[in-house]
């Protein structure tokens, strides 16, 4: 009810002068029509919705600083914060080992994907042929292959060549998983770059190698960085392959957190502490790249 009532005011709030004109004009004067109330209503609604959506994350961070007993007690914002769960997670479950796996796998696969994708995206953006569009779309279509459809062969292949439960194995899978998105995103960034600059460099006698390393890469660095960040985020949060292809040695944080699904004794505070550490860096990356990320996530279909 509040929502539908606020709507007129939300729309009108966009332009204050217009809004004032309307408040005195063709609308019944009521408490709703005042610009201040309207704005206040939207602010309250906006913040309420945002806080509700964010609440589970907030609650998790909070619980991480509680004792196990306080974690299962009636919800309360007042408690004496402690780091004992962080300590316990660190000492007893070897959090660091899994975190290292996550870092190695996420950054390793991202670097590899960028290395393979940059030449490809470069040629698609600057040396397009008749087949370029088809190739791009085909790459996109490989991304549509459901992982569960190829679970059996990948598992058996990995078992036979000894890649099960290795970081190398996960890096290979994640690189290939993200390669289409990385190529696609780089392609859109490269395409936005003015061709004249590369042309000028070529006139001055730059080789392809120099052209790419001294002109293209520095100029498109922000785009490459956000592409890399998206790839890191997707690899870091990937939980199908990590759960199925690793068990202990190479298990990244997604798989480690899953081990809390069959716990012994009280574990909420420890789960929260471990989860907070696992998601914090990625949450920050996500906040930083949210705008550019839309390009990669929708393959340029929404700008």
């Amino acid at each position: 009810m509040t929502t539908s009532r606020n709507k007129p005011d939300e729309a009108a709030a966009l332009s204050l002068t217009d809004q004032e004109a309307m408040a005195t004009g063709n609308r019944p004067p009521s408490w709703l029509a005042s610009a201040g109330t309207k704005k206040f209503g939207i602010t309250v609604l906006g913040w309420t919705v945002a806080l509700l959506i964010f609440f589970p994350i907030f609650w998790m961070v909070l619980t991480g600083f509680k004792t196990e007993a306080a974690a299962i007690a009636d919800p309360s914002l007042i408690f004496s914060p402690t780091l004992e769960s962080y300590q316990a997670v660190h000492d007893r479950t070897g959090y660091a080992r899994f975190a290292i796996n996550s870092v190695v796998v996420a950054f390793g696969s991202t670097l590899l994907a960028l290395l393979i994708a940059i030449p490809s995206a470069y040629s698609m953006a600057f040396l397009p042929t008749k087949r370029t569009k088809g190739t791009l779309l085909w790459m996109l279509s490989t991304k549509m292959l459901p992982p569960v459809g190829v679970l059996v062969p990948i598992y058996l292949l990995f078992r036979d060549v000894g890649l099960l439960d290795t970081r190398t194995g996960l890096i290979i899978v994640y690189t290939l998983m993200n390669l289409p998105i990385v190529v696609w995103m780089l392609y859109t960034f490269f395409k936005d770059m003015p061709k004249d600059i590369l042309e000028a460099g070529r006139m001055d006698g730059a080789s392809t190698f120099q052209e790419v390393f001294f002109l293209l890469l520095p100029l498109t660095l922000p785009g490459i960085a956000s592409t890399g960040l998206l790839s890191v985020i997707l690899s870091w949060n990937e939980a199908f392959w990590s759960l199925n292809l690793t068990s202990s040695n190479a298990a990244p944080l997604t798989a480690y957190i899953a081990s809390f699904s069959s716990p012994e004794g009280l574990f909420w505070a420890k789960l929260s502490a471990a989860s907070t550490m696992a998601i914090a860096p990625i949450l920050v990356f996500g906040w930083l790249t949210q705008k550019q990320m839309v390009r990669g996530l929708t393959f340029g279909a929404v700008k």
């Binding site: 939300e10 806080l51 998790m60 279509s141 292959l145 190829v150 679970l151 759960l243 997604t254 899953a258």
Partner: protein
């Protein structure tokens, strides 16, 4: 280098080929080999627990799979999961995009908070919801219910699929919001202004200007979500393990059970083929739409 440039087109093509070769070759291998193997296994008698039993099975695996009530239960659950999550995230995402498009104090921060769940790894979302939110006696939701005098709900035993839907929708609502907010930014303010001058109310503006403008972005959201939602796995793995009974077993989880718990490679592969076909039906539309966009 100079020599190659003189002969133009073919050499350019060669250069393109060599630059694209690594990416194209790797993706081709990544697609063709496992796909071919899945297809091959799906026609084989192949169970890791019965090494003696091998050979061509014809359509036996498919017959076995289609006569298995578990498949139909899993298909039903997959459909419900995808349908409900889509409904919640698309409708909710659109409304939230309209809300967060309005100017208000601290809008930037509110937006960031609202899209955050998308960056939380699925195992964390699922376990935080299952334990701290939905626990029948100590969870926040039961505390809220009891505070207001209602009976607490034992989410995962009485409403298992609904619980999964809630968790997955919480993760994907921010995705829809993020994409639709971006699409909203290209909405022509003058057009809205003109409509308002002509006396259009906010509801009319929403239905006749905002919604048509968002049409394409909404279909992109639907298709991308469908592809990912068809194979939701981790959320089920860490909360219900597909149970109670088959109540939360979707197609992805069923294939996992057949493959890695029953070691029935043949049947699991047949299931994989079905998953691939389903995903491709959606993918065709998405690829077409992106292709159209490339031309503009």
């Amino acid at each position: 280098m100079n020599k190659t440039r003189a002969s133009g087109r073919t050499v350019g093509g060669l250069r393109t080929l060599s630059l694209q070769a690594p990416a194209v070759t790797l993706l081709l291998l990544w697609m063709v080999i496992p796909l071919g193997m899945t297809l091959w296994f799906s026609f084989q008698r192949y169970n890791l627990l019965m090494p003696g039993m091998t050979g061509f099975a014809g359509l036996e695996n498919y017959q076995y799979l289609f006569s298995d009530p578990a498949l139909w239960a899993a298909m039903g659950n997959t459909l419900q999961l995808v349908g409900w999550v889509l409904a919640i995230t698309v409708v909710g995402g659109t409304l939230l995009a309209v809300l967060f498009q309005q100017e208000f104090a601290g809008r930037g921060i509110a937006r960031v908070l609202a899209i955050s769940p998308f960056f939380v790894m699925p195992t964390v979302s699922a376990l935080v919801w299952k334990n701290m939110m939905m626990h029948p006696s100590n969870g926040v939701l039961s505390w809220v219910a009891e505070t207001f005098g209602f009976q607490a709900v034992d989410w995962f035993s009485s409403l298992p699929l609904t619980s999964i839907v809630i968790i997955v929708a919480w993760q994907w609502l921010p995705f829809a919001l993020l994409i639709l907010l971006t699409a909203m930014q290209s909405l022509d303010e003058d057009q809205v202004e003109a409509a308002r001058m002509d006396g259009a109310g906010p509801v009319a503006i929403f239905f006749f200007i905002t919604l048509p403008h968002l049409k394409r972005a909404i279909s992109v959201v639907i298709m991308i979500e469908m592809i990912f939602l068809l194979t939701i796995f981790a959320e089920i793995f860490v909360t219900t393990s597909g149970g109670p009974g088959l109540a939360t077993t979707n197609l992805a989880y069923l294939i996992y059970i057949r493959a890695l718990l029953d070691f029935d490679v043949g049947t699991a592969s047949a299931g994989g083929v079905i998953a691939i076909i389903l995903a491709n039906i959606v993918a065709i539309f998405l690829v077409r739409m992106v292709a159209k966009n490339l031309e503009d």
